[in-house]
């Protein structure tokens, strides 16, 4: 299908974008890569009055080294993430997770920030942002604010970015001594995750000193598997990892649908966690 008609604005600065949003009112919507929004418009599930295109704001296409972190602009596409030397050097987990997103065409247009703002529980990058400890810089009528990933994903398709705000950039701490793995399980290669597990560990003296485990599609928002994370601290054997992984579904609430039952998703989360962590030690 084709979308219902809408007005279109192409601001060239973030301030201008915020201004247009304020003027256009509640029904306006920001468009970045359009890879999630355009399908919604075409299916006529959404009918915004105005689209505010961030594509003309050159500064949003930058990846910047900010000491202990990288700052990734809102218009940095998945493809740009995969190519970027800074990201490759400091955030290999983000690179390997991004490789699993959709297909080349979608990665060419879709943005890292857009997939966080969209807050699809089946999206691969929200769980990765959680374990990486990312924080989001948001601009609105009242100025700028920073929201940590842990508070950013509010509900199904709902992030902390309000209708009159723009997500400007994502600040992601460099991995440093942390190694990470993203395990995605899908029905077809280009499909969304049935379940995904983003795991990071910091090793000390042959055992796991600290671990973080983020889950994709195990609830209406991405979430951390805290019981597993705690159980992994100090784990020094396959058995210990397995036992920790077995607790990964605690506190989750996966959906039960055509692509997989909730039971199966819980089971998969355990297997994927075990594999992710075992591959890191």
């Amino acid at each position: 299908m084709i979308p219902p008609s809408f007005d279109y604005a192409a601001p060239t600065t973030v301030d201008e974008a915020v201004g247009v949003l304020a003027e256009a009112g509640e029904d306006a919507k920001v468009i970045a890569g359009g890879q999630s929004l355009i399908p919604l418009l075409r299916m006529r599930f959404a009918a915004p009055s105005t689209l505010v295109d961030l594509g003309g704001i050159a500064s949003l296409r930058e990846v910047r080294d900010d000491g202990d972190a990288l700052v990734i602009g809102a218009m940095v596409t998945h493809a740009a993430v995969l190519r970027d030397p800074l990201v490759n050097e400091h955030l290999p987990l983000l690179v390997s997770a991004t490789e699993t997103v959709a297909d080349r065409q979608v990665r060419h247009r879709g943005t890292f920030a857009g997939s966080l703002a969209h807050a699809d529980p089946a999206g691969d990058l929200p769980a990765v942002a959680l374990v990486l400890g990312a924080s989001m810089e948001i601009a609105g009528p009242g100025g700028r604010r920073v929201v940590p990933a842990s508070e950013f994903f509010v509900d199904y398709l709902t992030s902390a970015v309000a209708a009159d705000e723009v997500l400007v950039s994502v600040r992601v701490p460099k991995q440093g001594a942390w190694v990470g793995s993203y395990q995605k399980f899908n029905r077809v290669a280009q499909g969304w995750a049935l379940v995904g597990v983003a795991a990071m560990v910091r090793r000390e003296n042959g055992s796991i000193a600290e671990a973080r485990v983020g889950l994709t599609n195990m609830a209406s928002t991405p979430l951390r598997a805290t019981a597993t994370e705690q159980a992994l601290a100090g784990a020094d054997s396959r058995e210990a990892i397995g036992a920790a992984a077995a607790r990964v579904a605690e506190g989750t609430n996966p959906s039960d649908d055509l692509l997989g039952s909730a039971d199966y998703r819980r089971h998969l989360a355990g297997v994927l966690t075990k594999r992710a962590v075992a591959g890191l030690v």
């Binding site: 299908m1 084709i2 219902p4 008609s5 075409r42 299916m43 006529r44 399980f185 029905r187 077809v188 290669a189 280009q190 499909g191 969304w192 055509l258 692509l259 997989g260 039952s261 199966y264 089971h267 998969l268 297997v271």
Partner: protein, 786 residues
């Protein structure tokens, strides 16, 4: 004849325009004053339309007209079924736009014509419809039970027909019931062919131009000729005032072997409005309303002796027709009826199929049409017999199959298999596969309790293609014949135009036909142009489906070429001042036998008839020739496909480690095209085994209405295929070729599922429902291990 072209892996001459899209896709057709149609579709599976008001749509910007089924009830006609398989088949009326009742989700209920597609889409949302929901009939077994709710209340039953073949009654074999009663071993299984969606790449699209008193329809169809005939009949338009053009068409797989509501809606709208109209479906509309495929419950009983010799087979099917009878839908399982005995010398066979109405999208032909279902059932159950008897599955097969020296072989269905060598294809496949090594690895993994188990799946298939001898089709109550046509026109400059009655939609006919003509006539490959799909240029033909184009149309083409040579002979003789009887035609030259120089080419003759200044007396000044060929038999390709799967028992995930296909399709015209057909065919067969299923919920809502839920695999999900061929030339074809369009799909599904079941046998698993999703495989492992 020299054969420099036949057998050469020519790159397809049509690909540049197909791949870039700079061509005549129907959606690319734009006419002056053209209006755009949008169709409002039923959100319910079964309901009475209590009221419908299209007037709000008329008030929307850009809208020119809007109408409901009731508005056009007396002119829209009813969609045809060309294959009433039994005399008493129930064939309910099927108005293109529902009038009083909707019977499946996605059925058209109203139409808007507007100046732009966007305006038409905006306007359909304004149409007001009140529905009174009726109970949705979905489960086939419940549908035919006593007191079931009815899809068509007026018909009193959900059973559309029951069609029976019994070899004892037909005199072609023994009594299957007796064989089962007396058997040393009987294997009984139920297999379910899930519902599939053909999912061709180019969505359906139709343009109708009503200029003057001629209606020209462009349609993304496989069957322009059949469509023209039926359009004339259904709408009461004189046939010579209907022109159908299938321009370049982007895939079909049987899914465009249909006369669709959308085509008739566009016709009715163009006629009403007196203006050209266009309708192009969205992908979502396509998935819910273009016909689906398969959806058959198969109950199979196989009787055998302890030594593995099969003594009888009984098959009982329930075939889901959907809400109405499609163009050839009722006949699809009947095509399969002749294939359950497959490559084997079964002595007794009974087949019974009931077509059942449900409140779902109609089903109809989908790549293989009946034959994949049959092949699946028999190749799965032959494995079960092998397990029961403790024999290698290949051993059980070879004990029953027709040997190479037994061809032609008349089967228990009465078909005469033309040629083949099953042992040779199997030996080659085993060699390429490394069968013995993989069996060893399988054992090692079993012994070590590896979490990833290995399975080997076999499918030794045959199929009947080259549809079809017209008399046989008549005996099966099919509405048309099975002949095909070709015309060869020699242009004055020696270039050649070929008109074919086949209707390619991605198969590469332009290339293969050019290769044939180049060799027959001794002209350059690039000097041949193949015309198709426009009933003005190709007024006669029976189109493309059932792997028939080369197997039938190729013979017509060959015969037309021979006629051209015959036509040219007296002219060449006149120029060479010799007796025609002294001429031979080789390498594109007529020469006096025994004299290698001073020949005349067909181009020389073409120029001579063009000028016509100096022709022998009484000669018609043309070389052109037409041929119509009605096949004397089907052709029967065969082959052996072997598949090795790795099954991750922790997640249920299945990976195809190796896939070997050795096909015997007779002589090959273009190996590159054949490989393409085999690869694509296998991909679609694997898709049925592992990925695809159209699912309805309990209310009859299609749950798999987008590609997020209808999980269509892509190249990234498939292994590299190892393909090879053996060659048993088709005795009835002057070029020795058989069809290849469906072979891969027919063969591959059972090979994959057999491999998965084989991997999990030690865990007590003997079946997994298709598609074998990771969750189903995982559950089988859990259940089996418990």
């Amino acid at each position: 004849m020299t054969t420099t072209e036949i057998g050469s892996p020519r790159r397809r001459k049509e690909d540049a325009r197909l791949i870039t899209g700079r061509t005549t896709w129907t959606e690319n057709v734009t006419l002056p004053g053209m209006l755009h149609l949008a169709i409002l579709r039923s959100p319910l599976a079964h309901a009475r339309i209590t009221s419908i008001d299209v007037s709000p749509a008329l008030e929307t910007k850009g809208v020119v007209a809007a109408f409901s089924g009731r508005d056009v009830a007396d002119v829209q006609g009813s969609l045809p079924c060309a294959w009433p398989v039994t005399e008493d088949m129930v064939h309910p009326d099927r108005p293109p736009i529902a009038v009083d009742e909707v019977r499946f989700m996605g059925e058209a209920v109203a139409v808007v014509a507007a100046r732009s597609r966007a305006a038409a889409l905006d306007a359909i949302a304004a149409i007001e419809v009140d529905y009174e929901p009726l109970p949705a009939v979905l489960d086939m077994e419940q549908a035919i039970a006593e007191g079931a709710d009815l899809v068509h209340a007026g018909k009193g039953t959900n059973k559309g027909y029951t069609w029976v073949f019994d070899s004892a009654e037909a005199g072609t074999g023994g009594d299957a019931g007796a064989a089962i009663d007396d058997a040393e071993v009987v294997i009984r299984r139920r297999y379910v062919q899930q519902r599939l969606i053909p999912a061709f790449m180019e969505p359906r699209s139709v343009v109708v131009d009503p200029t003057g008193d001629v209606y020209t329809m462009w349609s993304a169809t496989q069957i322009p000729h059949i469509l023209r005939f039926l359009l004339a009949v259904v709408t009461g338009t004189p046939e010579h005032k209907v022109r159908v053009i299938a321009p370049d068409v982007g895939g079909g797989f049987g899914g465009k072997l249909q006369v669709t509501p959308e085509e008739l809606i566009a016709f009715v709208a163009a006629k009403r409005l007196g203006k050209p109209v266009k309708y192009t479906e969205s992908r979502s509309e396509s998935l819910v309303s273009a016909h689906h495929g398969r959806d058959v419950i198969q109950d199979i009983e196989l009787a055998a002796r302890r030594d593995g010799t099969v003594t009888g087979l009984r098959v009982k099917l329930l075939a889901n027709m959907g809400a109405y009878m499609g163009l050839v839908g009722p006949g699809v399982p009947i095509l399969g009826a002749f294939m359950y005995n497959a490559i084997y010398k079964f002595p007794a066979y009974r087949f019974e199929c009931s077509g059942v109405f449900t409140n779902t999208t109609i089903t109809d032909a989908y790549r293989g049409a009946g034959r994949p279902e049959a092949t699946y059932a028999i190749e799965r159950i032959m494995d079960e017999l092998a397990v029961e008897l403790g024999l290698d599955p290949l051993e059980v097969r070879s004990r029953n199959w027709i040997n190479a020296d037994e061809f032609p072989f008349t089967t228990v269905c009465g078909l005469a298999y033309d040629s083949g060598d099953y042992a040779k294809a199997t030996d080659r496949a085993k060699e390429l596969f490394g069968y013995d090594e993989l069996r060893q690895e399988q054992q090692a993994r079993r012994d070590s309790g590896d979490s990833v188990q290995l399975g080997i799946g076999i499918s030794t298939y045959t199929e009947m293609c080259g549809l079809a001898p017209s008399r046989v089709l008549g005996a099966l109550r099919y509405g048309a014949g099975g002949w095909e046509t070709a015309s060869v026109r020699m242009l004055p400059t020696g270039r050649v135009e070929v008109v074919t009655g086949t209707s390619p939609h991605g198969q590469g006919h332009e290339t293969a036909w050019s290769q044939i003509v180049a060799d027959q006539l001794g002209v350059a490959f690039d000097d041949v142009e193949v015309l198709h799909g426009d009933t003005r240029t190709s007024y006669k033909g029976l189109d493309t489906y059932g792997s028939r184009s080369l197997a039938v149309g190729g013979i017509a083409l060959y015969n037309a070429c021979q006629k051209v040579i015959e036509n040219a002979k007296p002219i060449a003789a006149h120029m060479l001042e010799c007796d025609p009887a002294d001429l031979e035609f080789t390498g594109g030259q007529f020469r006096v036998r025994g004299n290698p120089d001073g020949g005349k080419s067909l181009a020389d003759c073409a120029l001579a008839v063009f000028a016509a200044h100096d022709l022998p007396d009484g000669i018609e000044p043309t070389l052109d020739a037409d041929a119509v060929y009605d096949p004397v038999n089907f052709s029967f390709p065969h082959g052996t496909h072997l598949c090795a799967t790795e099954v991750d028992t922790e997640t249920g995930s299945v990976t195809i480690r190796k896939y070997v296909a050795v096909d015997d399709i007779g002589r090959v015209i273009n190996p590159l095209i054949v490989d393409g057909q085999v690869h694509g065919g296998i991909a679609q067969g694997i898709a049925q085994a592992l990925f695809e299923e159209a699912v309805y919920d309990a209310d009859g809502n299609l749950m798999t209405g987008t590609f997020v839920d209808y999980t269509l695999p892509t190249a990234a999900d498939l292994p590299a295929f190892v393909t090879d061929r053996t060659e048993s030339p088709a005795p009835d074809h002057p070029l020795g070729t058989k069809g290849v369009g469906e072979a891969g799909t027919i063969a591959s599904t059972p090979a994959v599922v057999n491999a998965i079941v084989d991997a999990l046998r030690p865990m007590g698993v003997n079946d997994i429902a298709m598609p074998c999703t990771p969750e189903r495989v995982w559950r089988a492992v859990q259940g089996g291990a418990a």
